[in-house]
């Protein structure tokens, strides 16, 4: 146990050192605009230490690894964001700060996750909120980066689909715990296809895929049915073919994947530039500030992995993938150790959607699968993604440390 704790703090020291070295270089590369930038950037270090310490104190038996790993990822994101777009770093640090707060909030909330189960008319409520949020973008939505899935409030833009992800997982876990007949599964199937349809029309293909696959995985875990999984896979294939012919934006993505060179100045510009960047990085990378990740479009959000591949090389990129692998492993472990089926299903849903999102965006930018614009959790620039990723891990932590029964506690008698 002692060694366990020691290794954890050593890992945090590595995170600390990486940050110091990288920003030392970057402050030479991009002279900081003002003292604000320096202060806030340096503030990141005490922030993660406080969070680490608080976590050890508040959740002695909690999933401390989640904090170590997410700190590392957020740090890699900050380094790359400052490298390619120094103006964005203050906002990103602010989002990380908010993210940590929400991590603890959702951890505490999930200690009592039975509440999500016991709430009256839960099914209807969760679905109603999900659909209201999804449709809100149709009415008030704004198109950013080709997808009409954003709501803007003043200078802040949020993606309602990020929030819907978690509500929908809670809904599914709650429903699947007690409903496992074929009719129930068909009902879930219909609802899922509705949600996915809305997302495809909003051109949010990546999120659509995440919803669909996560639902499929949760049904599989809850029912052990190979049949449902098979049917689900078949539907995915059919749906893919139909949307290929129905929607131009789907067609463009698939064609760009099959032949990223067909129209480099136009349709395949993004993926081609991404591949050039990854190629330029080689195994060891060009070194910070020595590559040209600024040639990649939307590099701070969707394509941040390509930027890391260029300047940290394939070794850096593989390290990032391994970190996500460990997060996935912890998520699976939380699901295995969960006290009841509801908790396990939520944990599986959260782990699935998180891991699938990682796979979708990394696979997309390296041309392993067709590119769909989702963010890389913790690393990409963006508030909605950062906050929801922290909430996801917070909930996993809450499920992990949850007390096994609700027993009243007594005041001490003196």
């Amino acid at each position: 146990m002692e060694e366990y704790v020691k290794t954890g703090s050593k890992a945090m020291k590595d995170v600390f050192l990486i940050f110091v070295i990288a920003f030392m270089l970057l402050f030479i590369y991009h002279k900081p605009q003002g003292f604000d930038t320096i202060y806030f950037t340096i503030a990141f270090l005490p922030l993660i230490y406080i969070v680490y310490y608080l976590h050890v104190r508040l959740f002695p038996m909690g999933e401390i690894q989640l904090i170590i790993l997410s700190s590392f990822l957020a740090e890699m994101g900050l380094i790359m964001i400052y490298r390619v777009a120094p103006d964005l770093i203050l906002k990103q640090i602010a989002w990380i700060f908010i993210g940590f707060i929400l991590y603890f909030a959702s951890s505490y909330a999930s200690l009592h996750y039975d509440f999500f189960y016991k709430v009256k008319y839960g099914d209807y409520m969760y679905l109603a909120i999900s659909f209201i949020l999804l449709f809100s973008t149709f009415i008030f939505g704004k198109e950013i980066g080709g997808s009409k899935n954003w709501l803007t409030f003043g200078s802040v833009s949020v993606q309602p689909s990020e929030v819907v992800k978690i509500i929908y997982i809670i809904y599914l876990a709650r429903y699947l715990k007690d409903h496992k007949t074929t009719n129930d599964i068909i009902k879930i199937g219909v609802i899922t296809i509705l949600i996915v349809g809305v997302l495809v029309i909003e051109k949010d293909l990546g999120t659509a895929l995440l919803f669909y696959l996560t639902t499929m995985f949760m049904i599989f875990v809850a029912t052990s049915s190979v049949l449902y999984t098979g049917v689900g896979t078949a539907f995915l294939g059919i749906g893919g073919v139909i949307s290929y012919f129905l929607f131009n934006h789907v067609r463009v993505r698939i064609q760009a994947w099959l032949n990223p060179w067909m129209d480099v100045p136009g349709k395949t510009y993004q993926i081609a530039q991404s591949l050039f960047a990854i190629g330029a990085g080689g195994f060891f990378g060009t070194g910070l500030g020595m590559g040209h990740p600024e040639y990649i479009p939307v590099v701070a959000s969707d394509f941040i992995f390509s930027a890391i591949s260029e300047e940290f090389g394939m070794l850096g990129a593989v390290a990032i993938i391994l970190v996500y692998f460990v997060i996935m492993y912890r998520g699976i472990k939380v699901a295995l150790d969960a006290k009841d089926e509801f908790g396990a299903l939520i944990a599986i849903g959260l782990t699935s959607i998180f891991s699938l999102q990682v796979f979708t965006i990394i696979g997309g930018v390296i041309k392993f699968i067709p590119l769909t614009g989702v963010t890389l959790p913790f690393v990409s620039y963006g508030g909605s993604s950062m906050v929801m990723s922290f909430i996801t891990l917070g909930m996993l932590n809450g499920i992990a440390v949850r007390e096994d029964e609700d027993v009243e506690q007594y005041e001490p008698q003196h």
Binding site: F217, F220, V221, A222, S224, W261, V264, P265, A272, Q273, L275, F276, A277, I278, G279, A280, G282, F283, G291, H292, Y295, S309, M314, A317, V318, I321, L322, Y324, F325, M328, Y329, I332, A335, L336, A338, K339, D340, E341, A344, I348, T351, S352, S355, V358, F359, I362, G363, I366, K367, F368
Partner: protein, 475 residues
């Protein structure tokens, strides 16, 4: 907790593990294989990184066969400057690079760009060390087959007239000179870009490889090849030359309307009798003439180090094709060829019927160690005629220089073989042609000369060829 659910969760863990590790596997595959394709492919022009990287590499030099510098790079105030010591005569061979003039790349600078940037066979350790030190790398040197002395001579002999001179070694295909006139000064291309590009004389056009001309009477080499190959008895025929011949109502005359009377095949070739060769062509028929023209590559783009125009020998129609057949037999009508192709044509009789593939790059070497990284080995390109036919054509060509239209090409002490041409064209005075080689018994150099609107080949082009051959053979 249900046991089955735990099992399912473990299955899911396996699925996710496979997904994550397939990402790592694909990334490795990409770095090991796909990446190299990315750099070498033509798509790399969209990769701005390469251009940035290349600015740091000291571009290699270009040399002629005797070690004379044709192009070199030096650093002046931290900027790379490309210098061309013998700029004007070589401009249309060497070309320019987009690394220096952003507008584009041409010539040897374009073809051997990767070599000049040292991007072939870079020793990984050297590369690593230089990357770590952030040193500027050095590109490799390209050594050409051309002879600076010959090139300068050929260019000056053209004397500012529009035209081209091609000289090559018929035994190997190595190009010795490839002059195109008028040319431009690549050293001042930056300042004069638009003047050079919009010049009415098309100075950036390499007339030797990209100029298309009617061949005129030098084509009679091909007509004679066809006759000797497909209808050998024509060699012993006599022709009644009255100075003209009428084909389907069209009158085709001899040059200067001279009537030669009754002459044999050899004499007809020496004096370049159009009347006789129209009759030969009509006897051969369209398919034989076309077949031989194709064997000489007259419908090909010649494989070469720098861009070439495709020759044109349009097929002769089966019906009402008699006039076109007659015109084609004497190299007029719709035939268009490059001077390079005509030099290759003349190298067939010079080399026992075999045309070697022409080339400009002799070898590429590391400037520091001198190690040879690439080398061109001569290879066969075409074999239009047998050795027997080749020797007969050679004899005919010797006759042209000794007693026919090409006497101006004679060099005392050396037997020269050749053929003159005077190509009618819609742009004014006829183009003057000469193709030939020397010494006839052991040909070391083939020369093709064209002077646009230069008049008679025998008086305008043949002397230029003579001087080039003389200079090369050391007389």
């Amino acid at each position: 907790m249900l046991n089955s659910m735990n099992r399912n969760i473990k299955i899911l863990f396996a699925v996710f593990s496979i997904l994550f590790f397939s990402l790592i596997a694909y990334l490795s595959y990409f770095q090991l294989y796909e990446k190299n394709k990315l750099i070498t492919s033509s798509y790399s022009v969209y990769n701005k990184r390469l251009i940035e990287q290349e600015k740091k590499i000291l571009r290699g030099s270009i040399y002629d066969r005797n070690g004379n510098v044709l192009a070199k790079s030096t650093i002046v105030n931290g900027e790379q400057i490309r210098q061309y010591p013998d700029g004007v005569p070589f401009a249309d061979i060497i070309g320019y690079s987009r690394r220096i003039y952003q507008q584009g790349s041409t010539g040897i600078e374009n073809t051997y760009d990767r070599e000049l940037l040292g991007m072939i066979n870079t020793d990984p350790m050297t590369f690593l060390r230089e990357t770590v030190l952030g040193k500027s790398q050095v590109g490799d040197d390209v050594v050409l087959t051309v002879d600076k002395r010959l090139q300068d001579l050929a260019y000056s002999l053209l004397g500012g007239r529009k035209g081209a001179v091609v000289a090559l070694d018929p035994k190997t295909g190595a190009v010795l000179a490839l002059a195109s006139s008028p040319s431009y000064d690549p050293n001042t291309l930056g300042e004069n870009w638009s003047n050079v590009m919009n010049s009415p004389d098309h100075v950036v056009l390499n007339r030797a490889t990209q100029g298309l001309y009617p061949p005129g009477s030098i084509f009679k080499i091909i007509t004679a090849s066809a006759a000797l190959t497909y209808k050998p008895d024509i060699y012993n025929q006599t022709f009644n030359d009255v100075g003209y011949v009428i084909v389907d109502g069209n009158k085709i005359t001899n040059y200067d309307n001279i009537a030669y009377g009754t002459i044999g095949f050899q004499k007809a070739f020496y004096v370049s009798s159009n009347t006789s060769f129209v009759k030969i062509g009509l006897q051969l028929g369209r398919s034989n003439l076309e077949a031989m023209a194709n064997k000489y590559g007259l419908n090909d783009s010649v494989p070469f180090d720098i861009p070439v125009e495709k020759n044109q020998f349009p097929s002769i129609p089966l019906i009402n094709g008699k006039v076109q057949l007659a015109e084609s037999s004497i190299g007029q009508g719709k035939i268009l060829v490059t001077p390079l192709t005509m030099a290759l044509m003349a190298s067939a009789p010079a080399n026992g019927g075999v045309i070697m593939k022409p080339y400009l790059m002799d070898y590429v070497k590391n400037p520091i160690t001198g190690e040879i990284l690439e080398k061109t080995t001569p290879e066969k390109y075409l074999n239009p005629i047998t050795k027997d036919v080749a020797d007969k054509i050679k004899q005919l060509m010797i006759g042209v220089v000794q007693q026919g239209t090409g006497t101006a090409a004679q060099i005392p002490g050396i037997t020269v073989a050749g053929k003159t041409g005077t190509a009618e064209n819609p742009h004014g005075q006829a183009h003057a042609w000469f193709v030939g080689f020397a010494p006839a018994d052991n040909p070391k150099i083939v020369v093709a000369v064209i002077v646009e609107n230069g008049g008679a080949g025998g008086s305008t082009a043949a002397p230029i060829a003579r001087e080039v051959m003389k200079a090369y053979l050391g007389y």
